[in-house]
Symmetry: C2
Subunit: 194 residues, 2 copies
DNA sequence: ATATAATTCTGAACATCGTTCATTAAAAGG
DNA sequence: CCTTTTAATGAACGATGTTCAGAATTATAT
């Protein structure tokens, strides 16, 4: 039995990613199994493999959507703040808020180390995100190009650490309210003097 | 067939953890399967379950050993440096060096989010590590109690982030040499003025 | 219209995983 | 020597990712 529903390959691909995203968001990354996903979209498990090489690729597509969502919110934060230190604060808080609001999706993104290198479209997404932050740091903190590059990586990594330790409660669980204070303290050295 | 080799339960427990540790260190966390572990110690898979409730418990014991190893090296760093800012630098570099040197073990420690709360002995291990750092920060940086508590968490989380992003190459891969520069930049604001 | 080709979906099958447990072998005790 | 206790087994169960020969449907050609 074939063609039970008329979905173009692209539509079906999008349907799979959407269902996978919902599954991870609701029940965590471990709940994303081929059979559960197939049941959710009303297809047989094998159908997924006609559109994705394996389940890792499905999960990576979910992560891509998560990164896109973060980028949208960071862009909104840029648009809503003046081009000074307060924008950097807003970006950092938006990052933390997004990760907290989509905790299962965010945790799933870092749960399993990827074997092999990430596909180009995924690296491009990351690069795009990174460039956005770097541009804002350069503009708002008046750093030199080399310094803003390093500072971006430092703040990015530090934010990642704060967020992860907050979310999964590992290593001396950090309360959610304390996370904001930590981000403040992280950025404090970069605040213009006065 | 029973009692083929004479191991007390404690010896066998230690043997299992040791073999599991070697397995993770050599082939990564995903290679730690009940059957592979059993084969490595010359027992049947079921034997593992006589000594551990499940494989997660074995993995957690491995992580406990990893944390103990880190604590030893941090203590050595304390003993080898004067009680000033340079000691904080040495601690941070020791942390990064340990994670890098035991990359598979370190990555495995953060690969899967733990369901439920961690056992008490594990939380005590973490607390012990954290207390060591907090005491040194308090002593070497002349911070108040509340401030040293927050600063410890901040630096801990930031170090975690730098280390993780360096090791698994995710998110704008940070080169190993660049990681040291990032740690330097992270600590720079706390360097005594001059 | 009819036949043929191309597409698309199925679901049984395979290997491997964690885990359980009735069974069996070995040691200890009477 | 017999009995009890302990320790180890390995077959078995359910669930996993993945494959693929075949079935069902649509498109195309004659």
């Amino acid at each position: 039995m074939a063609r039970r529903k008329d979905h173009t390959p692209d539509e079906l691909r999008a349907l799979i990613v959407q269902a996978a995203r919902a599954l991870v968001a609701q029940k965590g990354g471990a709940a994303l199994t081929a059979r559960a996903l197939a049941a959710r979209i009303g297809y047989a498990p094998g159908t997924i493999y006609n559109l994705f090489p394996d389940m890792d690729a499905v999960l990576l597509a979910v992560h891509g959507a998560t990164l896109a969502g973060l980028q949208d919110e960071l862009a909104a934060a840029v648009a809503a703040t003046p081009a000074d230190f307060s924008r950097i604060q807003a970006l950092a808080q938006a990052y933390c808020a997004f990760a907290e609001r989509h905790a299962p999706l965010w945790l799933a993104m870092f749960a399993t180390p990827h074997r092999g290198r990430l596909p180009r479209w995924y690296r491009a997404r990351l690069q795009s995100l990174f460039s956005l932050l770097e541009a804002e740091l350069h503009a708002c903190l008046k750093l030199g190009p080399a310094e803003s590059r390093r500072t971006t990586r430092l703040l990015w990594a530090a934010l990642h650490g704060i967020t992860m330790l907050t979310l999964d409660g590992r290593l001396q669980a950090i309360g959610k309210s304390e996370a904001r204070a930590l981000v403040e303290a992280l950025l404090a050295p970069y605040r213009p003097h006065g």
